[in-house]
């Protein structure tokens, strides 16, 4: 959450420096000079359509995918400089959760969670103790002897999370962790990740194609398209002031803008000598609670029709979105929109 972020930036936990990766098959450039730094303790989201390169990016953090060029530094360690044994040790410090859970079908819940500990060579007694400790954290203490086939999707992902955290990593990678789940379960899993992040001091890097996931859990977000990061910043500012058209269309999925054609056709037409202009206004900052609509109407002699509006919150910060239809002479509307912008509101005209 934004308010959990200290004022002085935390040290960098994951630094991806100018990564490029070309896949021989199809000769596509999956990563094109991508740089990202994730600070300790934050939840960083990478959002993009399928094929944008986000999966390749997250898989290069633990070198499941080796970049052709660039640097990968995790918790101060240059992963590309490590030998096989060193890389395996580093991977044990990076938990990973997968879209399709990737559980062992012939191992019980407890045996699945114990797997990374087994790989690390922990004695059986310590494995059992750690499993007993971690299953309650994900709410699965009653399912320890169940097999994955006996679990729901949400429960399987809880096992995936418990397994990822079993070896006490400080970093958690989530590869579309909620994309195979229904909305309700998605909310539960995101709440769990947020809760565990706080309790276990995790740094979380997640990729998703759903802006709702970013909105629910991320502190900062990077938007990817065609192997490049096209926009990056704190979630609140990316949501309220998206710059790139692709970001705008992602943001629109969640906060919705534009006016449906059916509504538009019912709006009154402008009188002779007047214009009708539609705008989306995002209310943020200190003036977000001011009576902006009535002030603008009074001071600029406009009729303002509120077409739609709602209040939402992103990363714990409230904001309002409104679609307005302003009626009046062009110069007066221009002046009113300019005044609104001067208050720190974001005014985006919508083609009528």
């Amino acid at each position: 959450m934004a308010d959990a972020m200290p004022d002085t930036p935390s040290p960098v936990a994951i630094s991806l420096d100018r990564l490029s990766k070309r896949f021989a098959r199809g000769n596509t450039l999956a990563l094109d000079d991508v740089s990202i730094s994730v600070r300790e303790g934050e939840v960083f989201g990478i959002v993009g359509r399928s094929g944008a390169g986000k999966s390749t990016l997250i898989r290069s953090v633990n070198l499941l995918e080796r970049p052709d060029s660039g640097g990968v530094t995790v918790l101060g360690q240059d992963l590309l400089a490590l030998d096989d044994a060193g890389l395996r040790a580093a991977r044990r410090g990076i938990g990973m959760v997968f879209q399709h859970f990737n559980l062992h079908s012939r191992r019980t819940v407890a045996e699945n969670v114990a797997f990374p500990l087994e790989v690390a060579g922990l004695p059986a007694a310590e494995r059992r103790a750690r499993v007993a400790e971690i299953l309650p954290l994900v709410g699965l203490e009653g399912k320890r002897d169940a097999y994955p086939a006996q679990l729901s999707g949400g429960q399987k992902q809880r096992v995936g999370i418990a397994r990822a955290l079993a070896s006490r990593p400080r970093i958690l990678l989530c590869d579309e962790a909620t994309s195979a789940l229904d909305p309700e379960t998605t909310r539960e899993i995101l709440a769990l990740i947020r809760d565990l992040r706080a309790r276990l001091d995790l740094t979380v890097l997640l990729i998703t194609h759903e802006m709702a996931v970013v909105k629910a859990i991320c502190d900062r977000v990077a938007v990817m398209e065609a192997g490049r990061v096209i926009e990056e910043g704190p979630v609140f500012s990316v949501f309220t002031r998206p710059e790139h058209p692709t970001t705008r269309s992602f943001v629109a999925e969640v906060i919705g803008h534009g006016v449906p054609a059916s509504t538009l056709s019912r709006l009154p037409l402008p009188r002779a000598g007047e214009k009708r202009r539609l705008a989306q206004v995002v209310f943020t900052g200190p003036n977000s609670t001011r009576a902006v609509v009535s002030e603008a109407s009074r001071d600029y002699g406009l009729d303002i029709n509120i077409v739609s509006g709602r209040v939402d919150d992103i990363a714990g910060e409230p904001f309002g979105v409104m679609a307005l239809a302003a009626y009046g002479p062009d110069p007066a509307i221009d002046a009113a929109f300019a005044w609104m912008r001067s208050l720190g509101l974001t005014v985006t005209e919508i083609a009528p």
């Binding site: 890389l87 399709h100 990737n102 079908s105 012939r106 797997f115 790989v119 397994r163």
Partner: protein
């Protein structure tokens, strides 16, 4: 089995034992050699744990060549090798050598298919958790493929029962040999019918046992 003379009954029991021995021994050898070959084929395949076309292609070629040779021809063709291994080229013991070779190639390919059925996501997860390649093979690949490996072994056992019937051609015993020599050459239909019924029951028992084991092992 009062429709058969006591002498024939003894022969039948001996033949059943010979068949069980030939099938069991050659299957055991085939599993022991076929599984490492399958693991090697799987690991060295493109995109595998240790891709290596120089190993994968020749190995695949040998497996295919062995599989495409009709068993009766393979049996005769490798007589010098059989003599080297078994000391003789005739008899039930000697028949185990070509049976094991045919079954090894057959099983190697079936095992490889079973390994390929393992969800690559589970293997990737193991890599992400810092597992070594040997750990991935021993703790992920083989355990996850186990029901498929058992099903493949069942198929091989059933095929071996059929192959073993040809062992008579090199002086091996077994039910097939008994059926040919008494049922066909001496025209004793009651012997032939008994042999066929026993073979059906034998194969059915193997299949049921295999299916039961697969059900017990898989948790899907």
């Amino acid at each position: 089995m009062s429709w058969l003379s006591p002498a024939l009954q003894d022969l039948l029991i001996e033949a059943l034992w010979d068949t069980a021995l030939m099938v069991g021994a050659s299957a055991a050898i085939a599993v022991l050699i076929g599984l490492p070959i399958a693991l090697l084929l799987h690991a060295t395949a493109p995109g595998g744990l240790a891709p290596n076309a120089w190993l994968n292609r020749p190995l695949g070629l040998v497996v295919n060549a062995t599989r495409s040779t009709p068993f009766i021809i393979l049996m005769v063709a490798i007589v010098p090798f059989t003599r080297l291994v078994a000391g003789t080229s005739i008899g039930t013991g000697a028949a185990i050598v070509p049976l094991a070779i045919a079954a090894t190639a057959f099983l190697a390919r079936l095992f490889e298919n079973a390994l390929r059925e393992v969800d690559p996501g589970v293997i990737e997860a193991a890599r992400a958790m810092g597992a070594t390649r040997m750990q991935i093979v021993a703790k992920v690949l083989v355990p996850e493929a186990l029901p498929g490996l058992v099903a493949a072994t069942t198929v091989a056992l059933v095929s071996l029962v059929g192959f073993s019937a040809m062992a008579g051609a090199v002086g091996g015993g077994g039910l097939g040999d008994l059926g040919i020599r008494f049922g066909y050459q001496r025209f004793m239909p009651e012997v032939m019918a008994t042999v066929v019924v026993i073979l059906i029951v034998f194969v059915q028992a193997l299949q049921s046992l295999g299916d039961w084991l697969v059900r017990r092992l898989s948790h899907r």
